[in-house]
């Protein structure tokens, strides 16, 4: 069976990102559980734990099936003919060991070896720059997306014959719609006058009672006793005030409502605030 040599660049890049995410998920979950067992011991042997986990991931993916987990998700693999034993060993050395060497140098060396630290930093910086250059080379040629793949001469192949990658556009549509709704809600909610809205709704439900009560006396003298409470907040009224209907409010409760809603009516009897405004008891 002839191998399918063409692999879109975007699939190769996505395979790398997926593999990074999967490895980080596995590592973080395992380390979190191990840290809960014994924090002191964990700190002592963390570099070795990292090495073991990374090695297990590598053996479970590249070592066994010639493809990383990210590649498997996208039905890709390394070209098995080029993946000889020596290249496998080199791949392991170049992908798993550098992290361990760096953390070993940071934690294990009691006596600081200047040339070794500088050598490690130099290698790290060179790798970073070469990775960027290799990225642009990959954009042009479409082969060997990472520096390790380039050094080892490893190509990606597709295990599925030129089948298009399925993109779920309906999820994108739903996400955009939801985002749009949320943004316009966030814009509109602060400018809604909820007090007026609440009053209008209440007046609709109790319109008959309100019409009947309007025929009562135009002015009632408020009666202040020891047990009098604010009609609005239900506590002892601070600076008692009234609006001509005989019910007593705190100054703050009454004035805040009248300022917010010019048509504020008494919650108990539905009387409107007179033109003369609120008065002190």
């Amino acid at each position: 069976m002839e191998k399918n040599k063409y692999v879109p660049r975007v699939n190769q890049i996505d395979a790398i990102y997926l593999n990074k995410d999967i490895a980080r998920l596995i590592r973080d979950n395992l380390l979190e559980n191990l840290q809960a067992i014994s924090p002191v011991l964990f700190i002592k042997i963390q570099p070795e734990l990292d090495l073991i986990i990374q090695s297990a991931i590598w053996f479970g993916s590249v070592g066994k099936r010639c493809s990383t987990f990210g590649q498997q998700l996208l039905v890709l693999a390394y070209d098995a003919e080029k993946l000889t034993v020596s290249r496998l060993v080199l791949h392991f050395i170049l992908t798993v060991l550098p992290g361990y060497v760096k953390s070993w140098e940071e934690r294990r060396l009691t006596r600081r070896v200047e040339w070794f630290s500088e050598a490690i930093m130099w290698v790290e910086n060179s790798a970073l720059i070469l990775n960027i250059l290799n990225y642009f080379r990959f954009l042009k040629t479409g082969r060997k997306p990472t520096l390790v793949d380039y050094l080892l001469g490893l190509d990606y192949i597709s295990l599925r014959n030129n089948q298009r990658r399925d993109i779920g556009y309906k999820y994108l549509t739903r996400e955009l719609l939801w985002g749009g709704f949320m943004e316009i809600l966030g814009l509109v909610l602060p400018i809604i006058n909820f007090r007026k809205l609440q009053r209008v709704l209440k007046s609709w439900t109790f319109s008959g009672r309100r019409l009947e009560d309007r025929d009562g006396p135009a002015f009632l003298a408020p009666q202040m006793t020891l047990s009098t409470t604010c009609t609005f907040c239900g506590e002892r009224p601070t600076l008692p005030h009234h609006m001509g209907c005989g019910h007593i409010y705190c100054y703050y409760c009454l004035n805040a409502n009248v300022l917010t809603d010019a048509s504020f009516c008494c919650p108990n009897c539905g009387s409107a605030c007179p033109e003369s405004g609120i008065q002190s008891v």
Binding site: L139, Y169, I191
Partner: protein, 299 residues
């Protein structure tokens, strides 16, 4: 023969742009790491340029080599000129890229220079300068509104997503349009309407705020005139070192307000505090806004 019937639709273009943004973010992070090698001072100074450099180099590289970007490859679209016949020229693509990623900073820099010119120019009359400054300020804020309006247009009729593509006339077509799945674009029309409503409401709110600010300034100037008249008739008093101070703002107290537990603060400071929690700032006694008493004629 042109490819007008293979024109790309809203989801393909949006997804392509999102994908490219993801990859340029990664590239910007790598460039930032490289910049850090040159020293922390350079990193602080030029870190903002890393993103711009990543975007320009990524898209410029693709354009220079006649390549699709990764996002375009992902969604299976390609750029064509205004006639839907051939690939746009390199110069046109370069102009579109520079406008798309550098246009914002160019515009802001232009507004900055205009502002400086107005402030320093002697030929402009002094009373006109504040109005010109205000106009420049509004122009500075206009790009976000223009972009949002353009986006709502895009959602409604799927022509062009970026302003730079509209100015240069570049379009997108599907490479294999016969293989594309059929789906409803009704959601995007709703999204276009929502985006347009959002821009309208936002403009209305800012207009209302500006009008109210104008009214407040008029009222304040009237008050200031009255205050000046009063101050001229009476002598100015020195600040008394024993003036009581508000514990919340550490300034002389204004509009003294008393709590049931006996502590006194500025009215505005106390009410602002009670927006967050229902207790006295000093002794943590339970306290509601309605229990605050404004003291009249109290020193």
């Amino acid at each position: 023969m042109d490819f007008r019937n293979a024109r790309a639709r809203q989801p393909e273009i949006v997804r392509s742009v999102q994908k490219d943004a993801r990859y340029t973010n990664e590239l910007a992070e790598d460039l930032s790491d490289v910049l850090r090698l040159t020293g922390p001072r350079n990193w602080i100074k030029y870190n903002q340029m890393c993103r711009l450099l990543a975007e320009l180099s990524y898209h410029g590289f693709a354009s220079a080599n006649n390549l699709q970007t990764l996002g375009e490859e992902y969604t299976g679209i390609i750029q064509v000129d205004g006639n839907y016949k051939q690939i746009p020229s390199r110069l046109l693509q370069l102009i579109a890229i520079v406008l798309e990623f550098g246009g914002d900073s160019l515009f802001q820099r232009l507004m900055q220079k205009l502002d400086t010119y107005v402030a320093n120019n002697d030929e402009i009359r002094t009373e006109i300068k504040p109005q010109l400054k205000k106009i420049i300020q509004r122009l500075r804020q206009s790009p976000s509104y223009v972009k949002a309006l353009h986006k709502s247009l895009f959602y409604l009729d799927a022509s062009k997503y970026q302003l730079s593509k509209r100015t240069t006339g570049i379009n997108y077509v599907l490479i294999r349009h016969w293989l594309q799945p059929e789906f409803s674009l009704y959601g995007y029309k709703i999204l276009g309407v929502i985006t347009f409503l959002q821009v309208s409401v936002s403009l209305a709110i800012s207009g209302w705020d500006a009008w109210r600010e104008h009214k407040r300034q008029q009222l304040e100037s009237i008050k200031q005139a009255g205050k000046n008249f009063l101050q001229r008739s009476s002598s100015t008093k020195d600040v008394d070192p024993n003036t009581p101070q508000c514990i919340l703002c550490l300034e002389p107290r204004s509009d003294s307000s008393l709590t049931p537990c006996g502590h006194i603060f500025c009215w505005s400071c106390l009410l602002e505090w009670l927006e967050e929690r229902d207790e006295c700032p000093l002794c943590r006694e339970s306290l509601k806004k309605s229990q605050v008493i404004l003291l009249q004629n109290y020193a």
